[in-house]
Symmetry: D2
Subunit: 378 residues, 4 copies
């Protein structure tokens, strides 16, 4: 049980909307302190702002730095029971040094050395992996070995057993996204250790996971397999499909048809084939492609996002901050801060010249609680 280490401390101050500072008021406030009470009238500005004012700040993490430190950790920090994973999380600079990229989202680089395993466990936190580069690691979810390659997205809903094994002779890095901060503040977490070793039978390296062979055919669902747990039963969304879908949208736009979000801006949402919902109950994941030279309209949304640059380069603006970004860079967009991006042709090294962005956010939470709002600056 947490210690009672921060009793209420109130100070009567002269300010508009506040009662006159008198000895009686000070005495009243002392009474509040003794009884563990806090008045609304001193707190309302912070608690009930005219619009969300995030405690988080926009921030950019450069991929090169992350990979360098992860590789150092690969040589110093073993992966095993207790520590569980060699995952290193983004800590938003204004969230108290906690490993919270935003108030609700965890984002980390995970790193596995050649031949290494990460032991099996399960937790209520909803998770996914996204691969910006490399290959060779399999994630084994409930005994189903799922390969991970550049551009692949692997959702993994809470309470599924999972482990990793690096079957290659090279280290591999990828990002993990979870709702750890959300479950931390709502206090919903359960965790269990699984087997310390994965079996040789699971140490296989199939091209397709079983989940893809059952659930990965477009518009087709199995008649003989039920799906009754939260989140998507499809454990891998391969890059070839994402890339094709985005290319199709931009091509339709060129031919004069609907398809993109706005001119030069294609986007797909990873969805649960069972019911069309978001892949995870608390996390939305999307992939955005901004064509060479295009620029998106600034949008404010309730809730926060983390982006990773998958390819290309450009300029990102969040609130009053702008950064140049390139492959692998990660950045956060706090709640209700205007976000826009411009693809910059010159510096792009991708085939298309487009800026490709992977995004995840907490929008399903806001939609489930009917708290979602969007404002588009036109």
């Amino acid at each position: 049980m947490a210690a009672i280490d921060t009793p209420v401390q109130l100070k009567a101050v002269a300010a508009p909307g506040q009662p006159d500072v008198t000895p009686e008021l000070e005495q009243l406030y002392q009474g509040f302190e003794r009884e563990l009470l806090v008045p609304l009238w001193t707190e309302i500005g912070d608690l009930m702002p005219a619009h969300p004012r995030s405690r988080a700040v926009p921030h950019l993490w450069k991929w090169d730095n992350l990979v360098r430190l992860a590789d150092e950790a690969g040589h110093l920090v073993p992966v095993g029971r207790g520590g569980e994973r060699r995952a290193i999380a983004l800590a938003n600079p204004s969230l108290g040094g906690r490993p919270f990229a935003t108030p609700t989202l965890w984002a980390a680089i995970q790193y596995l050395m050649p031949g290494e395993d990460a032991p099996e466990h399960r937790h209520t936190q909803h998770a996914f992996r996204f691969v910006v580069e490399g290959s060779g690691v399999w994630t084994v979810v409930g005994g189903d070995a799922v390969p991970m390659n550049r551009g692949d997205f692997l959702p993994q809903a809470g309470w599924n057993w999972h482990a990793h094994h690096n079957a290659s002779d090279r280290p591999m890095a990828w990002i993990d996204g979870l709702d750890i901060p959300l479950q931390y503040v709502t206090e919903a977490q359960f965790f269990e250790f699984g087997r310390d070793e994965i079996s040789d039978a699971e140490r296989i390296t199939p091209r397709y996971s079983r989940s893809e062979r059952i659930w990965g055919h477009p518009g087709l669902r199995p008649v003989g397999v039920a799906h009754t747990t939260p989140g998507s039963p499809l454990l891998a969304y391969k890059w070839e499909h994402t890339n094709r879908a985005l290319a199709d949208q931009l091509e339709l736009e060129k031919q004069g048809y609907a398809g993109t979000v706005e001119p030069g801006h294609a986007a797909v949402r990873y969805s649960n084939p069972h019911d069309g919902s978001d892949v995870l109950p608390t996390i939305r994941a999307e992939f955005h492609r901004v064509a060479r030279g295009a620029e998106t309209t600034p949008v404010c949304e309730t809730g926060s996002s983390v982006y990773q640059v998958f390819d290309g380069s450009g300029t990102v603006t969040v609130g009053e901050v702008s950064w140049s970004v390139t492959r692998g860079d990660l950045f956060v967009v706090p709640s209700w801060q205007a976000f826009s991006v411009r693809s910059e042709a010159g510096s792009s090294d991708s085939d298309s010249g487009a800026l490709d962005l992977f995004r995840f956010c907490d929008a399903p939470v806001f939609e489930a609680l009917q708290l979602n709002r969007t404002q588009i600056d036109k």
Copy 2:
């Protein structure tokens, strides 16, 4: 924008599951600090516990103290634009002195002097009023004057304009419940001032609100009135119905039929007549009656609750803490702490000798996000 005042601080320590403390590790951790990174392996015990370990603690607030301090505030603190309400909130002793009864719930006593008005505003925070004693105040929601009397429950979903007026010659106290902490941590809040004065036309004191006349008939819904906003369109759940429903359940139990939760324990949930869901998207409200001498089975649930004793007396046990409670007392049950209650015949002054408890909790959040779990100790 929040200041960057808490940079990451990491300390390599020798502990099971932690890497060996070496100069290289300390250098690595300094690299993490510089890049605003935090590893999972030092935090996992706190972030991913085997089961929820709440930062909140069980705590009891005595009603007499609350009323006394609220009355003092009634003489010292005016109600008006800016401070908005004379509301004094419970501050859980281990939540940093913030006015948070639990990590997600706000509970406050509100107090209005004879003839006073509280000015109109609206906010995305979902709210309700519950009246343990007194009468004379009307809450005007969207121009609909809703009376408040002992035992009445008044939900008020987010973004509805509302004001209060005390039409009587006596002060009145009641409790407000809101999801202020939840919206604070998720950063979903919007707020607007309304009119500074409510009109004389609204300063009426009808026995039934318009919402009750449209939506308050059992099993009947209006054909001519649509309901398209979140939360219940029924703005008052009068005590006479709650009391009757609880009495009926206990009587059915006596006759050998289903109806109660467990022997001697009747309970109703306030529900949205539009769709049968919880009255508010983020808050569940219930009323429990524990018959004279009965005792409830200890239950652990994800999420937190606030209770107010409406009548009778008894002993409440939360985790390892027990209190004697009586009319008006408020207490909190943190996430996953076992809760049970025993009605004590001797000291009860109610007609029935039952212990009557009003409860509100954040269960709709957990259910919407598929994070709800319950464990009953049998």
Copy 3:
């Protein structure tokens, strides 16, 4: 298995949109007949009209005639196993002499002599009772005795065991509504005999059924009782609530507030307190009150309705037909025929002078299948 008694018969005819009548065409049509085939081009006008053209016709049944014949049946036709019920159904004059009030709905007068029982059975057909006059009969649903009095509405979803007993010394008549025709055409019916005799313990005459004591309190649901079967768990919607809800709507209208469907036209829908849906999966039930001298706007809807006049008198117009109606009269409104009603002050014998109409219809079927359309003539 049905006999093959109606082979295909085709005749080539000269008509617009039809192929030229030639010997070859006649030979083709003979080929179709032999192979049990029918071309679209000869049938499209009937099968795919520009808008629904009902096979049913508007028709009025006078209550006096129904009661007189039911009473004769009461003396000639025993109630017992095999025949099951002394129910006499409306047969729409253009539906082939079948006991179908409309293509989807069954409406019958049921009649029980003093002291008589109707034996227990259950069926997938969804049913309800509505009482236009009299009292004394109890319907026992799953062992729960539900009283029936003037103005009461008793839904009873499919597959619930049920029986009736007349505890009084007078015959009693009421109407039964079911989805028998719908389940006949879709072929979904199951039926089982129950006990031949209801027990003395069930031959009780409580003022409230157990279902009302659990589910009949406005906006309150039991915490300890789950509801997992289709349809409403509330087995009686008493007249006092219906009457009050309608009066409240008209009074709100007088005070200048929303509430009614249109001026002088109040209406409530019986709803499932569990989820706010229609009381039965295939049948909607409503009660309409048209104030003295008021007239409703003609409305066309997909799907069919049956109305019974509960009180007052007036003029009803369906398509091109009009009737004067009075207490107890039943009439049908076929799909997409304009319906309106005028309350006639002079001849009314009710307190209010209003025309009170009970209505049931198949709207939930159309809504579930996304086939519902409405057109209001303004």
Copy 4:
């Protein structure tokens, strides 16, 4: 309006469960006839059977006969406004010579000559096309040209404009499935003529429809395109995906994993990528593959199905009837008649030796109305 040509005709007969035949009873029945009434007790056996007893019978139509007659019609019956389509429907032998394959489903062969167009129209009836052989026809839905090739399934929800054009130099046949009988009995139909000619811009022959380019990527949905109408936005389910999904299920089964319905029996359901539901609000469509030598377990279901043999050969049993079937053959399974199939290795000409069956049925209607039941004979 339909003529009143079938008045009620009742005959008192001596039978178990029927009242004694007396002059008074005969007089009562004459009274019923005059007042357009029919008693339950003479009809209950037909209307409320112990389980569904379908008015339809199992029946088999041989594909060769259908194609031969369709081709004759191709030379005799022009396609144009009024007749609309050269579609020739299966008429179940016991459904009164109407073009109803089952009480709820329409199944027809449609035939288009080289270069022919079928004019644009729209209707509330939900429809699909399935192609057992041939190619060359495009269906233009809302201006989107959708190619049709062997094995492709094309759903087309109600009220979408659509036309066909045969771009090849050969006739093409395919089957149309619609809910015409269901909408006929419920009386929900609307119909509108569109343009008489499709534009040259639509007379294109792309490999993929626009709908596939937006909605046909597995687990990916467009962010920029909303879907707000009933039914699937994906207008073509290409054979390559269906075939692959079935092969994957059988391969998983061989490897010891879940995937198939039962040993040797793979099946996929065509689903709406927007929400995972059935492709059409009233029609379910599936594809079943029964491996060489395998046999399915007899199953009874409420509701009716139509099957077409896509490949292979085998023996089908429906109720008490069995047929040998081969490519293109169509047959119906009435409500609650046991259905099973055996794949016969010897006569198969497919690669795999499997029996491939396309199926459509009215299950969504039964599920939406909570009337679905299944019984598996084990």
